[in-house]
Amino acid sequence: MCGAPDQAVSLPVGTDLGKQTVLAGRVVAGGAPVGGAFVRLLDGTGEFTAEVVSSASGDFRFFAAPGTWTVRALSRSGNGEAVLNAEGPGLHQTEVAVA
């Protein structure tokens, strides 16, 4: 479970990465994945857009649009955030470290 983020993100059948902008990533604490974290997607102005709960392997995923996004995670291990610049459609990945 260590090393580079999983590149083989599972996406719903029919997801067209030529058209859709997918933001995905993993919540980690000290390198270990954090499941059950509350992951909030904030737009370029810091406004709340959506919230999901990370999977047991710490993974999360949003369908968004091109732009600058902040992914903020809240968990019992602490909070943290990361900024993602999605210049266009496709899969955009990040890791969010909480402490």
């Binding site: 509350f38 997607l41 709960v53 369908f63 019992r76």
Partner: protein
């Protein structure tokens, strides 16, 4: 009406687990969340089958509401304490439906399941057994429920509050970014509606903002405190959250939830729709 009448803290909830006459009820958007762990002693309501009619698009009938509460072992004089995931969206919807059928003694856990989990409090997979009751509901209180004709008639007359995200309001998208797009025929918002996303009423841990912050929020958005209010969203659950804020926390007298919401309104022929961001 004050916060203590309609909200309990996670701390209060933990201290009152198992208390006589108190029933904890979990309602989630993800109807499997309860099965993976819930507050000890809490019973589960599935919003798709136990709060809405399985055939018609509607809340439960009075008789079905009575049957569900009786089967869950809830009595007329029990204090029902609701909580759920996703910042209490569906718990707020359940709260509204309990009030609709005249169950006065009902409260929300401030912050819901998220706050409980972030606090590091206990969850269990043990499902409680409760003895069936014989619950009697009152006739639906339509002073808190708006139907489509009233919404159309309220354009320019009452406050219409669209609580969806700015992109749903402006007509850019049909549904929130993390959900499949349940499609109405048209995008946009009810003519003249103001846009105050439900999320602005909550802190990031899911608790409600202070009365002062909430009053400022709706005031700045142009809500006229002397006029009645109808809140709507996509299917009526996020607007229950705002209905709760306006009526139960801020004490506005005449607030209705339009549970038909955009999925209904955006499919009606000939009704006034506007596109574009709020002014």
């Amino acid at each position: 009406m004050s916060r203590e009448d309609v909200l309990v803290s996670t701390d209060w909830a933990e201290k009152n687990l198992g208390a006589e006459g108190v029933v904890f009820v979990e309602v989630d958007e993800d109807t499997t969340a309860y099965d993976g762990g819930h507050i000890p002693g809490a019973v589960k309501f599935s919003w798709t089958t136990e709060l809405t009619d399985p055939v018609r698009r509607d809340v439960l009938s009075k008789e079905d509401f009575e049957a569900v509460l009786s089967a869950k072992g809830i009595s007329n004089d029990d204090l029902v304490v609701l909580y759920g995931g996703n910042n209490n969206w569906f718990a707020a919807y359940a709260y509204w439906e309990f009030k609709l059928y005249g169950h006065e003694n009902v409260k929300l856990i401030d912050g819901g399941r998220k706050k409980w989990e972030l606090d590091g409090r206990t969850l269990t997979t043990e499902v409680p057994e409760r003895k069936a009751t014989s619950y009697t509901a009152k006739d639906a209180d339509l002073s808190i429920r708006a139907f489509r004709d009233e919404v159309v008639a309220s354009i320019g007359v009452k406050n219409l509050v669209d609580v969806r995200s700015p992109d749903e309001y402006s007509g850019k998208i049909f549904a929130p970014a993390h959900l499949p797009q349940e499609v109405s025929q048209r995008r946009g918002h009810v003519k003249g509606a103001i846009n105050v996303p439900w999320s602005k009423a909550a802190n990031e841990d899911g608790t409600f903002r202070s009365d002062e912050e909430l009053t400022a929020l709706y005031g700045e958005a142009g809500l006229d405190g002397n006029k009645a209010v109808i809140a709507y969203c996509r299917i009526g659950e996020r607007s229950s959250h705002t209905w709760f804020v306006l009526r139960e926390l801020l004490g506005h007298k005449d607030v209705k939830n339009y549970d038909g919401s955009w999925v209904e309104y955006g499919s009606l022929v000939g009704v006034p729709i506007e596109l574009g961001a709020s002014a």
